[in-house]
């Protein structure tokens, strides 16, 4: 192999390695969302800080996901993560319903929506091993009042053009595909500055 090919191989390997670590290890999936006019820098999103108080004591919010039975196979870490992620997305989409109109916030919120559905999918996949009863427990967990309000907010934002398929790039959550397709072409009704 000549020198240039070797150099290209090594540099390519370094580039690929850095990105794989960034995505899978550091979890910075927001770096791989599409850019453009609609989507800014997720690291600059002010909504993250604005919602820190909502995450301080999620155990005090009785409307967040909770298990209704003691007979389940849900790990405490998954349960806590379900509560945190629901509390956070509720703050981003419902409490601050116009936050998504700012492009940096939109980038962060889109990435967070992906994480929200990914967590649900992961818990359902684990529950499949235990049968229908466990899957029902997990579905009920994710059907809390806050989760239902999040679903309504997602439907509304999609119908108002605040969220479109292009915002998600190649990583559209399966649960969002039908509503994104249904409201394709909707005009963004964000207030203009």
């Amino acid at each position: 192999m000549n020198f240039l090919k070797r150099a290209a191989f090594v540099l390519g390997g370094i580039f690929l390695g850095i990105n794989l670590i960034n995505y899978f290890v550091l979890g910075n999936s927001g770096d791989y969302l599409p850019g453009g006019q609609r989507m800014g820098e997720w690291k600059e999103a002010k909504i993250r800080e604005a919602c820190y108080p909502a995450l301080e004591a999620p155990e005090r919010d009785s409307l967040l996901p909770k298990l209704t039975s003691n007979e389940h196979g849900v790990d405490w870490r998954d349960l806590n993560r379900a509560k945190e992620i629901t509390a956070a997305l509720n703050c981003y989409l419902v409490t601050h319903s116009n936050a998504i109109c700012e492009r940096n916030n939109r980038a962060y919120i889109v990435d967070y929506i992906n994480r929200y559905f990914a967590k649900f999918d992961e818990m359902i996949d684990t529950a499949k091993r235990y049968g229908e009863s466990e899957m029902s427990t997990v579905r009920n967990l994710w059907d809390s009042p806050r989760n239902r309000v999040i679903n309504a907010a997602l439907m509304q934002d999609t119908s108002n053009g605040r969220l479109i398929k292009a915002d998600f790039g190649w990583s559209v959550p399966a649960a969002m595909k039908p509503m994104l397709d249904r409201y394709k072409g909707a005009t963004d009704n964000c207030p203009r500055a």
Partner: protein
């Protein structure tokens, strides 16, 4: 390169310590035989008898209690791995870890034998047994002597668990492949020498 040359002996002995208390369950076990010990029903029944979290036990998930037990015993493993000079506190942690895992394993074995046909319960049993013997061996190998009462407790757990292992090997609830190759020699000897006489998990 120079650093590696100088530190290679220390790294090598640290790795062998880690390996001796390494993975508890076999990485090569049939994926359907071993499940998730932290959510096992037997752990739900036993964990708060072993881990005392006071009145918080009512609000705490059993898997969180299991995590506390593992995190607490990890400190004893890490001390052994980095070759920390033995002191009375680290010896105490090792002996306490052995007793806690022994209590959990004994509680699990006290359940109905068929409970261990469930993959999560089986994984919990394998992990608790492996960890008990690993910490017991570590405590025995330490320079300072174990207090007599605690030594007797560990010996009693050891006898009970070895009997239980023999029974479960005969019942077919346990096989050698469930345990990692780092499991204590006593466990692997039983898995090798005892034979399955019936399969209690077959319906």
């Amino acid at each position: 390169m120079v650093g590696g040359w100088i530190w290679a002996p220390n790294i090598s002995s640290a790795m062998s310590s880690f390996v001796s208390v390494g993975p508890s369950v076999s990485l090569f076990a049939d994926a359907n035989r071993l499940g998730r010990p932290e959510v096992a029903p037997v752990v739900r029944s036993c964990i708060f008898r072993v881990v005392d979290v006071g009145p918080d036990a009512a609000k705490m998930e059993p898997s969180a209690g299991y995590f506390i037990l593992k995190a607490g015993s990890m400190q004893a493993s890490v001390s052994a791995m980095v070759g920390k000079p033995e002191d009375s506190r680290s010896e105490f942690r090792t002996v306490l870890s052995a007793i806690k895992w022994g209590e959990l394993a004994t509680c699990i074995y006290a359940q109905d034998d068929r409970e261990l046909c469930d993959p999560d319960n089986r994984a919990a049993m394998v992990e608790a047994t492996t960890k008990f013997f690993a910490f017991a061996k570590q405590a025995e190998a330490s320079k300072s002597s174990i207090p007599a009462g605690e030594a007797r407790t560990i010996e009693n757990f050891s006898d009970k668990l070895l009997d239980a292992l023999k029974n479960h090997r005969r019942y077919g609830t346990l096989v050698a492949a469930d345990f990692s190759s780092f499991a204590a020699p006593e466990i692997m000897r039983i898995m090798r020498e005892e034979k399955e006489t019936r399969d209690i998990c077959k319906r």
